[in-house]
Amino acid sequence: MTPTPNPGPDFGPGLAEVFGPQQQDGGPELVQLLTPEGERRHHDDFDLDFSAEQLRGFYRDMVLVRRLDTEATALQRHGELGIWAQLLGQEAAQIGCGRALRPQDYVFPTYREHGVAWCKGVDPLDLLGLFRGVDHGRWDPRENNFHLYTIVIGAQALHATGYAMGVQRDGAVGTGDPERDTAVVAHFGDGASSQGDVNEAFIFAASYQAPVVFFCQNNQWAISEPIERQSRIPLYQRALGFGFPGVRVDGNDVLATYAVAQAALQRAREGSGPTLVEAYTYRMGAHTTTDDPTRYRVDDDVEHWKLKDPIARLEVYLRRNGLIDDDFQATLKQEADDLGHRLREGCKALPDPAPSAMFDHVYAEETPELRAQREGYAAYLGSFEEAGR
């Protein structure tokens, strides 16, 4: 069945100027260093000299996290994962931001930041363990300064702001020591930008000049709702009303995302307060594997965004400038295949938790009532063995 796009409400004249032609290309304020065709652009405010090694690193990162995403999606389809939140199309936004981090910088992710987790050194198999339901705490957030995934939309913006206020009180801001000064990143999406939590986080961060970067991946869709339902103005422009700067960057351009994220992170570390970065990108896949976007969006949009693929444009640039060759590609393909193999086999080998694990981690000090329930359940399970049934 061909889906019929919903006509939606009439937003009236004027909005087309904001969301008309600009919607497709991000508008004149979009920071871009690499066009969809792989052409290098200069930008007056955000530009960097990237080394060949750095560029190849970005490319390798994006190829590998896309492979991780593809494998995880397939594993979910095979019943090996309960659910998976795809990052397809958002590789540049996540790798650009992730690679701009220093070790001491602390990240508060949503449930889709697999690329940032990769940059922070979290084992992808631990991500799969989470989505398989094996364990809710597969990685130690203190080890890599990468918090555990937060499920409730926008809640982590408040946690990040609180953490950043703590960083400030620890005196780890504006000392000039590059190994001490710390930035905090709050990830969220365009849908979350409507939540009170996110807006209240903006207010506190501005009030305290907290060292936090609000990194919004605007992937245009909140399950079935397009960005037009969340905002009548480009999201980055909201920051001004809260009293800090906002920047819209091409989230499919890893160079621009890196440059803008680095500038925003440095601003936070120096003690100049929060920044809103809107990484303008597109959710090429479903909201999660439980969702079917063909019910509510048209293929034309997806096809349009395919032409802006973050990996393809960097590949063109690297090829054209002789920075990668067939050997590099073959080696990377092998690396991706090895990763895929490791994830498939590793995921299937992850065991179900023991039955009594469902009573774990409810309290630091278990209550007598819960202990009685735990023991009652153990006795119940034991009764099957006794009875031999």
Binding site: P3, N6, P9, G82, D352, G376
Partner: protein, 354 residues
């Protein structure tokens, strides 16, 4: 009569209510695209009936920005000023995002405004428990809201009840929260094609019996019926009662049944502490103590978070096996039932007559 799914019955009730009264509107996330299957036909059900957005227009079927607090607050405002909104909050766990609006505004406004405010608003949400959706999507929070004076609480367990109770919810002038069970979405049953409503506070005797009363809530109802069928083969006659609404609660029907059977098991998918089962047990202990031949047994979800692991989650909720064991226990058979408060077994095994 026609055969309809639980989900289809909800859609039918919404459509009929909207056709009957133009003040009825639907607001929520993803309602325009009918992502959850109750506002049209684009994929899940009732494709032949057409899409709500096309039928009623975007003034009456309205997608909102992603903010539950504003959705609930705006609906309260709309209800106080003349509309009769149906709010689709998708997952019951999302209600917490709007707790202040529920507890301080929806529940209290009639009182705080000296009886001058009416709040004819329905808050629909689905409890996705048992479907491997993790701790942030699996809650069964109706007992929390039972604790808030001013709110009415509906827990339909069949397509017939889902349609009739939702219509009553739309037509009543009090704020109503309906908690739908996702595991029942696909269940089918006979439903009148014409409009009808089921009064609140009237329990349904799902199955008559003489030995034990099982009061079952939401998805525990079909499980209790399945247990009763098994127990009938063992010679135990079980009466299954579905309260259908928890506020108001049909206390009389429950007390009357227990006064005949002398034994009560309450099956409630909510957490054990301060559950609906706890309230029903207390009422029976107060009002039918003289009839009881055995201690009351609650079959509930233990006081844990809901694990994402399917292997763990499947152990949690009241099922036919747990309910069956509880019935055997109140009729004097020595079995252990999870979770068992210490000492109850011993008291039962010797004193409770068959």
């Amino acid at each position: 009569m026609t055969v309809m799914s639980y989900l289809g019955a909800i859609g039918a009730a919404q459509r009929e209510a909207m056709e009957a009264d133009e003040r009825v509107v639907i607001i929520g996330e993803d309602v325009e695209a009918n992502v959850y299957g109750t506002t049209g036909g684009s994929g899940k059900s009732r494709a032949d009936k057409g899409d709500f957005l096309q039928m009623f227009g975007s003034n009456r079927i309205r997608n909102t920005p992603i903010s539950e607090e504003v959705i609930v607050g705006a609906a309260i405002g709309a209800a106080m000023t003349g509309l009769r909104p149906i709010v689709d909050l998708s997952y019951s766990s999302f209600l917490y995002m709007a707790m202040d609006q529920f507890v301080n505004q929806a529940a209290k406004n009639r009182y705080m405004f000296g009886g001058q405010a009416s709040l004819p608003v329905v808050f629909r949400s689905a409890m996705f428990y048992g479907l491997n959706t993790g701790a942030h999507h699996s809650d069964r929070p109706y007992p929390m809201f039972m604790n808030v004076p001013g709110l009415k609480i509906v827990v339909p367990s069949s397509p017939y009840d889902a349609k009739g109770l939702l219509r009553t919810a739309v037509d009543t002038d009090d704020p109503v929260l309906t908690f739908e069970a996702c595991t029942l979405w696909g269940s089918k049953g006979e439903v009148p094609e014409e409009e009808y409503s089921i009064p609140f506070g009237q329990a349904r005797t799902v199955r008559e019996g003489t030995d034990v009363t099982v009061v079952a809530i939401s998805s525990a109802v079909p499980e209790a019926v399945a247990a009763a069928e098994q127990l009938a083969e063992e010679g135990i006659s079980v009466e299954v009662i579905d309260p259908r609404t928890l506020v108001p609660l049909d206390t009389a029907a429950i007390v009357e049944s227990v006064s005949r059977t002398g034994r009560l098991v309450v099956a409630d998918p909510a957490h054990r502490t301060c559950s609906a089962a706890a309230e029903i047990s207390a009422i029976v202990a107060e009002e039918a103590f003289g009839s009881l031949l055995a201690p009351i047994v609650r079959v509930t979800t233990p006081d844990t978070q809901i694990p994402f692991s399917p292997a763990l989650e499947k152990q949690l909720y009241p099922n036919r096996s747990y309910i069956g064991d509880a019935v055997r226990r109140v009729t004097g058979e020595r079995v252990s039932v999870p979770p068992t408060p210490e000492g109850v077994d011993d008291a039962l095994s010797t004193q409770a007559p068959r």
